[in-house]
């Protein structure tokens, strides 16, 4: 089959690889009908997250049709079923899964000894996302083996196009959790840093969860226009001061809730010296993340407020203003999203026409064009916001 394979920094190729096989009775194989490039795939493209090996198949936003099931799937899936594959592989049986904390499933990371060493405790296995999270082959391919398939799936009905359902795999529940864990109240202002695909979903989620005002921060006109279309007031951080504008828009109080949809690769600008220093340190491997957004959120958030981190961080962040964080009594909530905790509700909202996540797609191309789309997406060429690949 064809698959997008990581060969090193900035080197992804469309290779011919062997087809996946059932390895465990709880496995299923799907024929991929749609998959997408995620913003966090760019961290792997840049080799900023350790643990990739040449030959690893990329991709963790995937859906398709079941073509083979293992004997242990217990009738929960059958050939022909249409499923969206959550990026977090879950067993459904461990203590964390039972608590709904699916992204920290204790069972599915088959290389948990690495995660135990790096993070202190293992997290769930993830598709196409480094050997720290199991080294599972990803879904930017014609076929995908789904381990623990009896639990790791979202069954979706026929009649709704892939484009509306695909993002249940990651970015929609990621944006949703980012907003949900803010405990939004009707009087709240929610400020969202980053108007990439997850940021766009977080904006819509904050609206659906009843925020009084949503403010979106980015520098790209196409993303800001999409954010505005979704109901946000926008701030272009290249032309205006984020701190001053947020103060203005909240009568000097600061936003009650702040959401980071940027993560470890914050924009580097000479007018923001901390970003230059972070970049220099990142280059010589003295720091793994560029946490400018975290610093800004802590500074500007209203005392007693909540900071929600959906953007991916990989390791060590320097110079976080813990004094302000502590003295302002802020709460920080983080995590890879617990996909299956949210998807019943989100699927219902899609079915009822409350939201249509396909609004974010700007490019749809065949799988073979995937490698060059990584570059287009990374460079924000052709006003690219979200790429869907068709195997």
């Amino acid at each position: 089959m064809k698959a997008l394979v990581w060969h090193g920094k900035e080197d992804i190729r469309c290779d011919t690889v062997t087809d996946p096989e059932i390895q465990d009775p709880r496995d299923a194989i799907i024929k991929v009908t749609s998959c997408a490039i995620c913003g966090s795939d760019l961290h792997l493209f840049h080799n900023f997250i350790p643990g990739m090996l040449p030959g690893d198949i990329m991709g963790h936003e995937t859906m398709g049709e079941v073509v083979e099931v293992g004997s242990g799937v217990d009738g929960k899936l059958k050939k022909g079923d249409r499923i969206v594959v959550p990026f977090t592989i879950i067993c459904g049986e461990c203590d964390q899964c039972k608590r709904g904390n699916f992204s920290v499933c204790e069972t599915t990371n088959r290389k948990r000894h690495l995660a135990d060493k790096v993070f202190g405790h293992t997290t769930a296995g993830l598709f196409g996302y480094t050997h720290l999270t199991g080294g599972y082959p990803g879904g930017q391919a014609e076929y995908l083996r789904v381990p623990f398939a009896d639990a790791t799936h979202i069954k979706v009905p026929p009649g709704i196009p892939d484009e509306q359902l695909l993002f249940l795999s990651d970015i929609f529940p990621t944006g949703w959790q980012a907003a949900a864990q803010c405990d939004i109240e009707p009087t709240d202002t929610v400020a969202i840093w980053g108007c990439g695909p997850v940021g766009q979903m977080a904006i819509r989620s904050a609206i659906l969860l009843g925020a009084n005002q949503v403010i979106a921060i980015d520098c790209l006109p196409e993303r800001l226009s999409m954010a505005e279309a979704g109901g946000a007031t926008t701030i272009n951080f290249e032309t205006e001061s984020v701190v001053e504008r947020l103060q203005e828009l909240t009568d000097g109080r600061g936003p009650e809730k702040c959401i980071d949809c940027v993560g470890m690769e914050a924009h580097v600008m000479p007018s923001l010296p901390d970003t230059l220093l972070d970049r220099a340190k990142q280059m010589v491997m003295a720091e793994s993340d560029r946490p400018h957004v975290l610093r800004e959120m802590i500074y500007v958030c209203r005392p007693g407020g909540i900071i929600s981190v959906a953007g991916v961080y990989s390791g060590l962040s320097d110079m976080l203003p813990m004094g302000a964080f502590m003295n302002k009594g802020l709460t920080m909530r983080t995590g890879q999203t617990h996909v299956n905790r949210w998807t019943d509700d989100l699927l219902r909202r899609i079915e009822e026409g409350e939201i249509d996540p396909s609004f974010v797609i700007t490019h749809t191309v065949p799988l073979a064009q995937g490698p060059e789309m990584y570059q287009v997406f990374r460079d924000k060429r052709d006003s690219c916001v979200k790429v869907v690949l068709k195997p």
Binding site: C14, G210, S225, I355
Partner: protein, 189 residues
């Protein structure tokens, strides 16, 4: 490289049968080679400056050579990073500094001026490669003033934003009413 990682791959996981075309261009390979060359030269300059100054007949300039060594290492690391273009331009600038320093040692009384001339020739050759690589690895990002598509009609709410806001307000009001009711019930002795 993938042949090695195929060996360590979990049994049953897909293995590469035939590689597809690489995204890497010759300029990327050149940048990588120049990056490693820069680091190698920098290490020599940093740790063996006397050997360098002796070869060039420029004894007494060891501190300058060490400084240049640090510069080479930094530019080399940048050339190997995703910001390789900045690293390569830093190298082009560094080539200028190298040439200026060498020219200052090209005096009639320097018995090793032949070595300096040779070094100048090498710096010139490397500078051409650095410049070429810097030109060919220019970031493909569109300029700030480029025309961009805007997406003012992509709300994502098929029933409209106001409908989404109203539904959210109704749910919140309903939740509030329930909370008050539950609170009242709790107060009942």
């Amino acid at each position: 490289m993938f042949h090695f990682s195929n060996i360590v791959r979990t049994k049953g996981d897909p293995k590469i049968v035939e590689g597809g075309p690489s995204l890497k261009q010759p300029a990327d390979q050149l940048a990588r080679a120049l990056g490693w060359f820069s680091i190698g030269l920098g290490v020599v300059e940093l740790f063996a400056p006397r050997r360098v100054t002796h070869t060039l007949g420029m004894e007494g300039h060891e501190t300058l050579v060490r400084t240049f060594g640090v510069r080479e290492i930094v530019a080399g690391i940048m050339s190997l990073s995703v910001d390789k273009n900045a690293g390569l331009w830093a190298r082009v600038g560094g080539d200028g500094l190298d040439a200026a320093a060498l020219l200052s040692g090209l005096t009639a009384d320097n018995p090793k001026k032949g070595n300096i001339a040779l070094a100048l020739l090498m710096v010139g050759g490397i500078a051409v490669l650095d410049y070429r690589a810097a030109q060919d690895t220019k970031p493909q990002r569109p300029p700030r003033d480029a025309r961009r598509k805007l997406y003012p009609n992509r709300s994502g709410f098929p029933k409209g934003i106001e409908s989404a806001r109203t539904a959210a307000r109704q749910i919140a009001a309903h939740a509030k009413t329930n909370e008050v009711k539950q609170g009242d019930e709790r107060r009942v002795p």
